[in-house]
């Protein structure tokens, strides 16, 4: 008898726990219902990528509240979206290969382009990408090139390819992205192989090549590689073009070089989650973010490669002629995206990376 009552009591407690959980969730819902338009968009974006001021203006214009939360890796984003309940996020910003994964996993829904008239501002070169033919699920936002940065005050040699970074004379001078696909990808490129190489024999060669970087790399940093360039900590970098543009603004000796092998490319896109409760508002937001005047404000702060050709034109010569801010079209045409690889190949990549970093 005692045991039964104890059991009952503890189950009552357990229930009240869940009831508490349910209660707060309910309150959260009614709170958003009380907002001016009754709508709150939950937007999940990369860190240092969407200025708060731009989002505030959207709320001013439409009355739709926006909750901005951020992530710093695609995988992190995917995990969170999958773990949260439907509607926790309305809009996400996956990169190229991740768009494909999101489509395959049914995480994002089709976008109605007729509700996004500003889609016409997107340049033709950026429409209809390989990872989402016909832009059924995604609207391109910003992207970039994995370029080489050289501090010309310190290094005067000719550097024009990824292969040059592997030269032993640059010992302890290099900052690279802390990203295994990027670093192994450029090692493959430097040997003339594919950026997403899967052939085991070629991967063995690539491994030898990657290990040559070990002594050259002083720092792995994906968050702010520009700091090491600006402070003079590192004289060479393999990092995003926008980081190089920002470093160049602080220290004009830092110049961008586009590798002759063709660069590593990425592109981030607006997508609407399948579980979104505010599909119309989400379309409005994406349309707003595709307006040239809005994108100009974004570019002033974050000078990435912009799909919004109208905005780039409006930024003027200073912007469009700066190769770090607006990499030339022929460079983009030669670039490669990260592709989704099978788990065995990824395990090999992981092995190479661990050996490099141990």
């Amino acid at each position: 008898m005692k045991k039964i009552i104890a059991l009952l009591l503890s189950s009552v407690m357990a229930l009240s726990f869940t009831a508490c959980g349910g209660g707060t969730a309910g309150e959260g819902g009614s709170e958003s219902a009380a907002a001016p338009t009754g709508e709150t968009l939950n937007v999940f974006v990369w860190t240092e990528y969407v200025p708060q001021s731009v989002v505030d203006k959207f709320t001013e214009e439409t009355g739709i509240k926006v909750n901005l939360s951020t992530y710093s890796s695609n995988e992190d984003m995917l995990a969170k979206v999958k773990a949260e309940s439907d509607g926790a996020f309305d809009i996400i910003q996956p990169s190229d290969y991740m768009v494909e994964q999101c489509i395959n996993q049914g995480i994002i829904q089709e976008i109605d382009l007729s509700k996004i008239p500003n889609f016409s501002n997107i340049g033709d070169a950026y429409k209809n990408p390989s990872y989402d033919p016909g832009n059924k699920y995604s609207v391109p936002y910003l992207g970039g090139v994995g370029g080489i940065a050289v501090n010309r005050a310190q290094i005067t040699d000719d550097i024009d390819s990824y292969a040059d970074l592997f030269d032993p004379k640059y010992e302890g001078q290099l900052v690279v992205l802390d990203d295994f696909r990027a670093v192994i990808g450029i090692a493959a490129k430097s040997l003339g192989y594919d950026f997403n190489e899967t052939d085991p024999e070629k991967l063995a060669e690539i491994k030898e090549q990657v290990l040559k970087l070990k002594n050259n790399i002083k720092l792995y940093d994906s968050d702010s590689p520009k700091s090491a360039l600006i402070s003079g900590e590192c004289n060479l970098a393999f990092c995003w073009s926008a980081e190089i543009a920002l470093a160049n603004a602080e220290n004009p000796d830092v110049e961008i070089v586009f590798p002759e092998e063709g660069p590593y490319l990425f592109f981030d896109n607006w997508c609407i989650t399948s579980g979104s409760q505010h599909v119309d508002a989400a379309h409005k937001f994406i349309d707003y973010m595709s307006r040239p005047d809005v994108m100009q404000e974004v570019l002033a702060e974050f000078p990435y490669l912009c799909a919004n050709t109208a905005a780039v034109e409006a930024m003027g010569e200073e912007y469009s002629a700066n190769p770090a801010k607006n990499p030339p079209a022929d460079v983009i045409a030669k670039g490669s995206y990260v592709k989704n690889l099978d788990t065995d190949t990824i395990a090999t990549y992981d092995e190479i990376w661990t050996e490099l970093k141990k």
């Binding site: 008898m1 407690m13 890796s73 995990a79 994964q101 402070s231 989704n340 661990t354 970093k357």
Partner: protein, 288 residues
């Protein structure tokens, strides 16, 4: 068995203990169990966890590269612990043996920095030690060096950061142990003709060894997992086990492998605590 009995005996204890038990079950036991189960799971082609039994994750843990990183972690943790003991022992002695007013002051010196987020403080070190940082500027000003010294992104900087982060965890148990030290024993030792060093090594050190033990455990174990310190100050060149786990849960996107690595970390921790108990360590001074 009457109702009365139940009320007076069982009900209060269920009410008192029940919530704690539920808390432990839901937030510690079940998550740990989940990690253990996950470490035997597989992933499918789109990196989702599939509940299909495999030991492949554990096989991968024996990879020579991983083993070398465990070795490196342990080396970093040992160095961190030794430096912490050397720095914290005299300091704790000072706190324990000073007047109550300066005691509070010294105590605050340890505690107050920890009111700031550790990430920010670690970034502070990075700025301070950088080639264009204050320390290098100072060294150049006073003419000790001609060009900036490369201090950052080495194993030594990782150890420095770890020591800085974990210093209080060494000071607190040491302080408790030294505070408990009976002064009359020191008097007896000197009455019997023991010199300073002799008293220290034969009386003080053995009597405060429990503090050294528990401090070491509290420094050693977190060091294995503090991936952000080795990321920021080590520049990714001196990874600890924590970095391996973080990588599998983030960019590697292989949660079962990350779970298996976490299990390794838990096993190392348990072994160390067992060892600590074997050596006569007191679980209470670990705050358990």
């Amino acid at each position: 068995m009457t109702k009365h009995n139940f009320r007076s005996n069982t009900l209060p204890s269920v009410i008192m203990v029940g919530p704690v038990v539920l808390w432990l079950v839901f937030f510690i036991a079940i998550p740990l169990l989940y990690v253990a189960v996950m470490s035997f799971c597989s992933i499918d082609e789109s990196y989702n966890i599939v509940f299909r039994f495999t030991t492949v994750n554990y096989k991968r843990l024996c990879d020579i590269n991983y083993v070398q990183i465990y070795g490196q972690s342990i080396l970093i943790a040992v160095l961190t612990t030794i430096v912490c003991i050397l720095l914290a022992y005299p300091f704790s002695f000072l706190i324990a043996r000073t007047t109550s007013k300066s005691k509070a002051f010294l105590y605050m010196l340890v505690i107050i920095p920890f009111w700031t987020n550790s990430l920010i403080r670690i970034y502070g070190w990075r700025t301070f030690l950088g080639t264009s940082g204050w320390l290098n500027m100072l060294l150049m000003k006073i003419g000790l060096v001609d060009s900036p010294v490369n201090m950052l992104f080495k194993r030594g900087t990782t150890v420095l950061g770890m020591v800085y982060c974990l210093f209080p965890y060494m000071v607190l148990p040491l302080y408790t142990a030294i505070e408990k030290l009976d002064k009359s024993l020191l008097e007896a030792s000197s009455d019997l003709g023991a010199k300073g060093p002799q008293t220290f090594f034969r009386v003080i050190l053995p009597l405060t060894s429990s503090g050294i033990f528990s401090g070491s455990i509290m420094v050693f174990i977190p060091t294995l997992g503090y991936f952000f310190v080795s990321d920021i100050l080590g520049g990714g060149n001196s990874d600890v086990i924590g970095n391996l786990i973080e990588r599998q849960f983030q960019s590697g996107n292989n949660w079962p492998l990350g779970a298996a690595l976490s299990i390794i970390l838990i096993v190392i921790t348990l072994l160390l605590v067992k060892l600590y108990q074997k050596c006569g360590g007191d679980m209470e001074s670990l705050g358990v």
